[in-house]
């Protein structure tokens, strides 16, 4: 192509842009962006709770360490590597899909982080790390009030500058019937048996009482209602990723037990929701809604050597020749760059070291739909999910339900 041609092409593209680009509504775009961000934020907060609760239920009691997590600014979840492994078998991609394989682990217990130990205090079960400096301190006799109450303290190793690791659980009377309101710096963990939970994992380098600078450290906290009581957990760990993970592991281990020791959550639930069907594709297991797929049967598309094959499933009609869809691409981690994380949120996916997702509303052929994008990395594999469901809360719930069924082996 010569210079003249490229000049003309550029001119024609500019004329086309001038012709077809609508007037920019700055105020409208800003407002819409803000609103959309707000909705996504609410969706991801809800998603964290759902994912954590599902994992906790599936593996039995509260062994899903690392599924409820928070970033350093205490906002939302981050996945960890300690999600339970499952024993599914790779299935060759075929159409129709392979017979159902168990997507859900069979309830085998998974371990806490190495060396962690369980504690139970006043019906609250949680785990503490190894390396206690001195024995646990228990105060069962303080009269509960909204200021004080029975407490348990795990005394951990020193952090420097007269600061120590600790985990403290205090049971109080709620003030005016509920926990103090929290602002947006807190996330909402899902704690079996608890209500109105909120928590944080942050890095601090000052003394909250005096405001004076001190050693940098990770601070974690949760408060929730349980049986009319306000339970508060405060903890302090070393600074850095390891300490943050300890804070997240503590929060993920929490549950409220009945006097006989059983969790107060409902009984075992399958990770595959009712009315859904399991799928397995190149070591990635998940579930899709049960639909009549005779019109658009699912199929496998081999993209090329640099990108992994993808399984494409079409479900119910959403109008305008748009259907529900689940597109799963699985490939060698070295073969495809994991991009697109701007604006995506960390999410817990079983078997994945890292997973990010976004649930959004989009348009396909003029039809408004709920869109889910998720990328998970497990071992040497990555899995991309691109899915669409009906617009609105029901579709968003389907996206969350789907995420809760994913396991990357």
């Amino acid at each position: 192509m010569n210079d003249h041609e490229t000049t003309v092409l550029a001119e024609r593209l500019n004329r086309l842009a001038d012709h077809q680009t609508p007037q920019l509504d700055v105020v409208g775009q800003v407002r819409a962006a803000r609103e959309r961000h707000r909705r996504q934020r609410l969706a991801r907060i809800g998603l964290v709770g759902v994912a954590a609760a599902t994992v906790a239920i599936v593996v039995g009691v509260t062994t899903a360490i690392g599924t409820v997590t928070a970033s350093s600014d205490g906002e939302v979840a981050r996945p960890t590597t300690s999600a339970p492994a499952t024993t599914t078998t790779d299935a060759a991609p075929t159409t129709p899909p392979p017979a159902a394989e168990p997507v859900v682990p069979s309830g085998e217990p998974t371990g806490l982080p190495a060396g962690w130990e369980w504690r139970t205090f006043q019906g609250v079960k949680f785990a503490v790390p190894p390396g206690a400096r001195i024995a646990d301190a228990v105060d069962e006799h303080s009269e509960p009030s909204f200021m004080d109450g029975p407490s348990f303290t795990w005394n951990g190793p020193p952090l420097g500058a007269d600061e120590y690791s600790y985990v403290e659980v205090t049971v109080r009377e709620p003030f005016e019937g509920g926990p103090p309101p929290r602002d947006g710096d807190f996330f909402r963990p899902s704690i079996p048996g608890a209500d109105e939970a909120n928590g944080y994992v942050q890095t601090r380098d000052d003394d909250p009482g005096t405001g004076r600078p001190t050693v940098e450290r990770t601070v974690a906290g949760v408060q929730f209602m349980a049986g009319g009581r306000l339970v508060g957990i405060n903890a302090q760990f070393p600074a850095g990723p390891a300490g943050q993970q300890m804070g997240r592991a503590l929060i993920a281990s929490l549950s409220v037990t009945s006097p006989d020791g059983a969790t107060e959550t409902p009984g075992q639930e399958a990770a595959v929701p009712a009315g859904w069907e399991p799928r397995s594709f190149l070591g990635v297991t998940f579930a899709v809604p049960s639909r009549d797929t005779s019109r658009y049967p699912e199929y496998v598309d081999e993209i090329g050597p640099s990108e992994g094959p993808q399984l494409i499933w079409y479900g119910a009609d959403l109008g305008g020749d748009v259907t529900e869809a689940v597109n799963v691409q699985v490939g060698d981690r070295s073969g495809g760059a994991l991009t697109g994380y701007d604006g995506w949120d960390p999410v817990a996916v079983r078997g994945a070291q890292e997973a990010y997702m976004v649930i959004d509303t989009g348009h396909v052929n003029g039809v408004e739909v709920t869109e889910l994008s998720l990328t998970a990395v497990g071992g040497e594999r990555y899995a991309h999910f691109a899915c669409r469901f009906q617009v609105g809360p029901e579709g968003e719930q389907m996206a969350r339900d789907l995420i809760a069924t994913i396991t990357v082996n």
Partner: protein, 175 residues
């Protein structure tokens, strides 16, 4: 803090939103899809505003976010791509119309695959170098070169079928 972010963000949209919207309309081939793409991108940018501000060139960073979203999995999954395969034949519009040229150009662009179209728009509308285009699209320079070569070859045929084969036909027609 939020007010400050909102003010900065609003300034950014006012300063750069128009250009981003033009690019969005060109790569999607549709004003409504372009607006939707821009809105998706701006929502992400708003949520990652600290990162955007920390970038060497915030508008380029947001443009990359936009192209990433455009080429992302969700949009590749959409039925829009299927519709393109049955787009009406070029030349169906009124040649006397003032819009004939832009219609022809738009329809020709829509016949290109999304990646090829994106490469063409970034190279010749955004005036990015091959390396910059590769950076934005997250692929190698040779891939960009390949896309652009394919796109230009296709555009020659689509914009001037049976004529002298260069891209000047429509321009001359309007002279």
């Amino acid at each position: 803090m939020t007010d400050y972010r909102d003010a900065e963000f609003t300034d950014f949209v006012a300063d750069h939103g128009g250009r981003l919207l033009s690019t969005a309309c060109l790569v999607t081939g549709d004003a409504h899809l372009g607006e939707d793409l821009l809105q998706t991108t701006l929502a992400k940018a708003y949520g990652s505003w600290a990162k955007v501000c920390a970038a060497d060139h915030p508008p380029a960073y947001v443009r990359r976010m936009m192209i990433n979203a455009h080429l992302g999995w969700v949009r590749r999954l959409t039925n829009t791509e299927r519709v393109l395969e049955i787009f009406p034949d070029v030349g169906g519009g009124d040649p006397q119309s003032a819009h004939a040229e832009t219609d022809e150009m738009r329809q020709a662009l829509l016949r290109l695959s999304p990646r090829v179209r994106t490469a063409i728009v970034l190279r010749y509308f955004e005036d990015l170098t091959e390396a910059e285009t590769a950076e934005v699209m997250g692929c190698s320079r040779s891939t960009v070169n390949n896309h652009v070569s394919k796109g230009l070859a296709a555009l020659r045929g689509l914009l001037a079928p049976g004529r002298d084969g260069d891209l000047t036909t429509a321009s001359r027609r309007n002279q």
